[in-house]
């Protein structure tokens, strides 16, 4: 099964996760990654009104913001799970931040980055069943409410 739901929140097993910062990484090649917010992160933030990504060419350290997102009840950074340079941004988000809510793992991606040292940084993330277990623990520990259905959740398999 390519994905699992924990408390209704979708976790794709083929992605790598920084659980603390609630971001996912999709590996494109040995240094290129696509990054986004997890289903849990978008659910916690609530219906997003604005998403502002950093510009292409911005160089980020790991943990520094690649975007800021805001809803009526939340505003916060999306923190870079890897160090490197932003090579593409999801332009569609500037006019439709709700895309992150509706499709956090696909059309709601945030940025693409060229990572400085991807192999090392991936080793500090979790994927597959380890990611599911880590999020189960996080959801219970932080008493995270159930996620609502996102687009395509039943087609990820």
């Amino acid at each position: 099964m390519a994905h699992e739901k924990v408390n209704g929140c979708v976790i794709l097993k083929n992605l790598h996760y920084n659980v603390e910062n609630n971001t996912w990484v999709r590996v494109i090649d040995d240094s290129t990654v696509v990054i986004g917010m997890t289903d849990i992160a978008q659910n916690l933030a609530g219906p997003l009104l604005h998403a502002k990504t950093k510009k292409v060419g911005t160089v980020r350290k790991q943990g520094k913001p690649i975007a800021t997102v805001e809803s009526g009840k939340y505003v916060g950074p999306v923190k870079a799970p890897v160090a490197g340079e932003i090579t593409k941004i999801n332009d569609a988000l500037s006019g439709d931040a709700g895309m992150i809510n509706r499709s956090p793992y696909n059309s709601g991606w945030i940025v693409e980055m060229k990572a400085d040292n991807l192999a090392d940084e991936l080793s500090n993330m979790v994927s597959g069943d380890d990611a599911v277990a880590a999020y189960k623990e996080k959801i219970e520990r932080d008493n995270i409410q159930a996620c609502e259905q996102i687009e395509g959740a039943d087609t990820y398999d």
Partner: protein
């Protein structure tokens, strides 16, 4: 100016409104969190009526968003979690007959001369 140019700048938010006017308490904290999310150094300075929301047991009585569990206490906690510094005016504590031990955790007390120094050293002051 690009937002990248703003990173590292210092914003001082001065809050003079308190528990008697709930609708005036939310936005300053929200702006402070937004600035922190944009990698700015942010401090909220509570003075005058703003002081009373920092008294233990008061902020949780102020409901800010209908049909949600967000109250002023949760907003203050979220603000501190965003690494925004909270400071309160020494003289205003006396105005509300508050002692240092009456303050919620995480708030430091500063005097009037400190606020003048802070205001001069910050890049921008937002006054509410």
């Amino acid at each position: 100016m690009d937002d990248e140019d703003h990173e590292g700048k210092k914003i001082l938010v001065i809050q003079t409104h308190g528990v008697a006017t709930p609708t005036r308490t939310y936005s300053p904290l929200f702006y402070a969190m937004a600035a922190a999310a944009m990698e700015m150094e942010v401090m909220v300075w509570f003075t005058m009526d703003g002081t009373n929301q920092l008294k233990k047991g008061e902020a949780e009585k102020v409901q800010l968003v209908k049909d949600s569990n967000v109250n002023l206490k949760t907003m203050l906690e979220m603000t501190m979690d965003s690494e925004v510094e909270l400071r309160v005016c020494q003289q205003s504590l006396e105005l509300w007959d508050m002692k240092p031990e009456d303050l919620i955790d995480g708030v430091e007390i500063l005097g009037a001369t400190s606020i003048i120094d802070l205001a001069l050293n910050y890049d921008h002051v937002m006054y509410f």
